[in-house]
Every structure is written in structure tokens, then in C-alpha cells.
């Protein structure tokens, strides 16, 4: 069994690479390989210019890692955690650096309480702070915001943007297209252990488009709504009769929400709800696979 096979990826310095993929795609395994926690049975990689296998110690000097589960010591306070990792990283004034980071992530108030008493979001922020204790050249973030409240998520996103401004390279895995879209310079879509697609967020959006969904009261109206969507998007509408919903993918950037509402209204479709949003990862994935098949045909 290989969780990762033929994963080919290059990330330019000072950029964010978003590794996007469903659960079980091999994202975490890839991060564990690149952070020296696993040894590859074949292949090679260079991280911050150092060979992953032969120069593992040099790689460790230049990376920061925030894994999927928090990896700080719950029996230590937030400050003690950061001071410990700072000392082990040979930071010159670990106490001062710890104070800066606690401040940066809004953790100063709780700093002297054991981390086990903190909320999940606070612990994740502490985890990220621990990875930044000595400004890393390459930062690995494995699904850093999964299950986080919006405020913690925003803090983490800001921190990532700030870091790349300082020249740090970031490899970020995520299940959210939105997160990759907001943060990444380049996206690599990973499926079954290999890279399925790469491109910029704009290129991705151009391919996968947006998703239009209309919710109506009954089946007759649904058929009329589907006809309108068909005309506007040129795509085959899909139905979810149990919710009274009909939806379609669009790649037409001139299709805005007001225009959509006007067209539906003109066609005499009484609306309960209407939305225009980026597709979910599943929808994007489906769309990209369809596109592959079109190419193959």
C-alpha cells in the first residue's frame, strides 16, 4: 500500500502552495514525508535546499510544522511551551520571542494557564506560534483551520499572509477550496496519492466555475427553473427534489446574482432561495474529472 505515489511538486520560495484534496488523498502522508517524520521508500525531495533523506538534520533546522492535531504539551502553560520549543530551536531570547508570539496570536491573557485548559482554537493558534518560534524558511500547515471557529481561522489566515510577505515558503493542505483560493499562489489538487491538477486559483476557478442553486416550492416550478438555468449556464442542471433544489455549474463570470434573480423572475419562477457560490471540493473534483474525460474523448 502506498498512501503517496508519484507525488510531484515544486514550490517557489516565498509563495503559498495549497495542496487540496479529499480525506485520504495522501495530504498528511505527504506532509509527514516532507517534514522528516516518515522516510520515503523511493524518490527524493529537497526542502529549503536540503535533501530530505541525507540531510534530514539540516531540513529540520529550516522548517516549521503545524500538524492536523495539536502537538503542544497540555501540562505546560502556553508560555512554557513556547519557551521550551524556543530553547530547543536555539532562539536567542526565548522568553521575549514567546511573549511576541503570544501577543501576535491573542493568547497573552491565557499565557500562564496550562494549555490543556484552553479551547481548541486557542491551542491551534499556540501550535502555529510554536512552529514560528524561529522564523522558518518553509512552513508546513496540515489542515490548519479544520474545525476552527471563524475568528481563529481569520487569525491563522492573516498570519500566513504576513509570513509569505517576509519570504517564508508555505505548504498548506486543506479540504476547503475557499481556503486555498484565499491563501495559495498555486494549488495542487491531490487524489489517491498523486497530483491530479495544478494551477493558480484563477485557473482553477475558470475550470470549475461557480455553482448556482435555486430552491423552489414544487416540481412544476423546478422544471421551469431548470430551463432557465440551462439557458444561462449551458450546463446540465442537477436536481435535489427532496429540498426542492435545482443547481448547475457556470463558468460565465457575467452571471451575477442580480441578473440571475431578474432572469428567474422574468420567467415567472417564484423563488424560495437562490445562491451563487464557489463549488465545494467534491463538485470541483467532479468537474475536473469530467474535463479530463472530455479531453480523452
Amino acid at each position: 500500500m502506498h498512501a503517496v505515489r508519484g507525488l510531484d511538486l515544486a514550490v517557489a520560495q516565498g509563495t503559498v502552495c495549497g495542496v487540496l484534496g479529499p480525506n485520504g488523498a495522501g495530504k498528511t502522508t505527504a506532509v509527514r514525508l516532507l517534514t522528516t517524520l516518515l522516510r520515503p521508500d523511493a524518490g527524493s525531495a529537497r526542502v529549503a535546499g536540503h535533501d530530505l533523506v541525507r540531510e534530514a538534520a539540516a531540513v529540520r533546522r529550516h522548517i516549521g510544522v503545524t500538524g492536523q492535531s495539536t502537538s503542544v504539551d497540555g501540562d505546560l502553560t502556553g508560555r512554557e511551551n513556547l519557551c521550551l520549543f524556543g530553547r530547543l530551536h536555539r532562539v536567542r531570547a526565548p522568553g521575549q520571542r514567546a511573549g511576541e508570539l503570544l501577543d501576535r496570536f491573542g493568547l497573552t491573557e491565557a499565557a500562564d494557564r496550562p494549555a490543556s485548559s484552553w479551547s481548541g482554537g486557542m491551542r491551534r493558534r499556540l501550535d502555529l506560534a510554536a512552529s514560528l518560534i524561529r522564523r522558518p524558511e518553509v512552513l508546513f500547515l496540515d489542515e490548519p483551520t479544520t474545525g476552527l471557529d471563524p475568528a481563529s481561522r481569520a487569525l491563522i489566515w492573516d498570519a500566513v499572509r504576513e509570513l509569505t510577505g517576509d519570504g517564508t515558503t508555505v505548504l498548506l493542505t486543506t479540504q476547503y477550496l475557499e481556503e486555498a483560493d484565499r491563501l495559495a499562489d498555486d494549488i495542487a489538487l491531490v487524489d489517491r496519492g498523486r497530483v491530479a491538477h495544478t494551477g493558480t486559483p484563477a485557473q482553477f476557478k475558470a475550470v470549475v466555475g461557480a455553482y448556482v442553486e435555486v430552491v423552489v416550492a414544487d416540481a412544476d416550478v423546478m422544471v421551469r427553473a431548470a430551463a432557465v438555468l440551462d439557458r444561462l449556464t449551458g450546463a446540465e442542471p442537477s436536481f435535489a427534489p427532496e429540498r426542492g433544489a435545482v443547481g448547475a455549474v457556470t463558468r460565465d463570470e457575467t452571471l451575477t446574482l442580480p441578473r440571475l434573480v431578474r432572469e428567474l423572475d422574468a420567467a415567472g419562477v417564484p423563488l424560495l432561495d437562490v445562491s451563487l457560490r464557489p463549488p465545494t471540493l467534491d463538485e470541483a473534483f467532479l468537474r475536473l474529472t469530467e474535463k479530463d474525460e472530455e479531453h480523452a474523448a
Binding site: T35, L37, R60, G67, S71, D75, L76, L88, H89
Partner: protein
């Protein structure tokens, strides 16, 4: 080597801070041997043919060694907890010496063990135990005890890195309470039936307990029995060195490679 010492000291500090922040567990592990001394010494001691004070003099060194054998449990639980909670992964991605993490853990354990010996021996004195030999011999007894604890901790760290699961380690650790029962920690082995006696006398706990009784001057060395018991000091040293030589490299290796 200086980097190992520096990292090891930082990690030793981590373990000591943890105990300070969470003193409940520490108090429990330190008072356990004292309660056992009182229960065994007065409950069992009254039922035994030997006079009570004599049994308690026999029991104090035995309990010291039995408690030291608990290093397997302590080492295992800590290593499994760190692995389970992801702390081990963070430490593995740091640019630190591969042996610093387990070494720091073992060193912290030694500090705590040494400190815990003091209240236990004070209670021992109160119930009638005495140093009946020379001061140097008594100091050697404490040194031997710590060496034994060190060996036990390395077995524990290795097993903890192997199980990687807090709960499994906790349950497996509980089983280590059985080890001193099949040894001369609580009872003289001479009265056991043949094969059971042989097994008990080859238990490292028996060698160390006999050595401590000899060094404290609490009981004479048995004239017949298995070699580690009739030569308890050489036997204890041999046991400790062999166990350290086997389990220390295994644990460091296991830590360094993780699940690789």
C-alpha cells in the same frame, strides 16, 4: 555531546515543570509506596511468624526496589502519552539530538525518584527500619537503587514508544505491579517451592532487593539460591547494565525513526 546535554536539560526542565503544574499525579505516586509500607508492614507483618519490626526492616528495602520497578510503568505511560498527543512528532521535527528526548525523560524520572526516596525512608525510620551498616554502604545502596530505576525507565520508554497509545500503556503499566510479587521484594524466596523459587530469584528485583538489604545491613545474603541472589551486588550491577545496554539503544532508535 554538549548539544545533547543542552537539549536534555531543556527537556528535563519540561518534565519537572509538568509535575509542578500537575502535582496530583506526583503526590499519588509518591505516597503509594508509603501506604504500602504501612499496610504490608502492619497487616501482613502481624500475620507472619517473624516479629513485626523485623519484617518491616526486611520490607523497606524491598519496597524501595518494587517502587523503582514502577519505572517501567512511568516511562511507558509518559512516552506513549507524548506520542499519542503529537508532542513526540513536534519534537521529532526539531533540530535536536535524537537521544535528547528520551534522555531528558529518564533524567527527570531519576530526579523525582531520588526526591521521593527521602520521605519514604523517613517513614521507614518511624516504623523501625534502621541503617544497620556503614554510611558508605548505605550511599551505595541508594546509588544502586537509582541505577536500577534508570534501567527500568528505559524499558518503559521503549515499550511506550512501541505501544504509542496512552490507554494501552496505562493498562499494560498496571500489570507491572505483579512483577515484585514474584520476587524477594515482599517475602523471602527460600520458602517457595522449587521452580517458583528459581523464577523469583532470577527476577532482577530479587537481586537488587537482596543487595540493598545487604548494604543497609538489614538482612544477611542468602547462602544458597540462584547466582544473582547469592552474589547480590555483582548480580544487580550485571542486571542493570545488561538491561540498559539493551533497552537504551532500542528506545533511542525507536524514537529517532518513529513509525518510519
Amino acid at each position: 555531546m554538549s548539544t545533547v546535554a543542552y537539549d536534555g536539560t531543556a527537556l528535563l526542565g519540561r518534565q519537572l515543570r509538568r509535575m509542578r503544574n500537575n502535582p496530583g499525579l506526583l503526590i499519588l505516586t509518591q505516597t503509594m509506596p508509603i501506604s504500602m509500607l504501612l499496610f504490608f508492614g502492619y497487616v501482613f507483618g502481624s500475620a507472619l511468624a517473624v516479629p513485626g519490626r523485623e519484617y518491616r526492616s526486611f520490607l523497606v528495602p524491598g519496597l524501595l526496589v518494587a517502587t523503582a520497578a514502577g519505572g517501567i510503568m512511568a516511562g511507558m505511560f509518559q512516552a506513549a502519552q507524548d506520542t499519542h498527543r503529537g508532542v513526540m512528532d513536534r519534537l521529532r521535527t526539531l533540530p535536536i539530538s535524537r537521544s535528547a528526548v528520551p534522555l531528558g525523560q529518564a533524567a527527570a524520572d531519576l530526579v523525582v525518584t531520588a526526591a521521593g526516596t527521602v520521605p519514604f525512608l523517613l517513614v521507614g525510620l518511624a516504623v523501625g527500619w534502621r541503617v544497620e551498616g556503614g554510611v558508605l554502604e548505605a550511599a551505595a545502596a541508594v546509588g544502586l537503587l537509582l541505577l536500577f530505576r534508570f534501567a527500568m525507565t528505559w524499558i518503559g520508554i521503549f515499550l511506550g514508544l512501541l505501544t504509542r497509545n496512552e490507554e494501552a500503556a496505562g493498562q499494560l503499566g498496571g500489570a507491572t505491579f505483579l512483577l515484585p510479587l514474584l520476587s524477594s521484594a515482599y517475602i523471602p524466596t527460600a520458602g517457595l517451592p522449587g521452580w517458583l523459587r528459581t523464577a523469583a530469584e532470577w527476577n532482577p528485583i530479587s537481586a537488587v532487593a537482596t543487595a540493598l538489604r545487604d548494604l543497609f545491613g538489614n538482612a544477611p545474603v542468602p547462602t544458597d539460591g540462584a547466582w544473582p541472589v547469592t552474589h547480590p551486588i555483582a548480580g544487580s550491577l550485571a542486571w542493570c547494565l545488561v538491561l540498559i545496554a539493551v533497552f537504551m539503544p532500542l528506545a533511542v532508535r525507536r524514537y529517532a525513526y518513529g513509525e518510519r
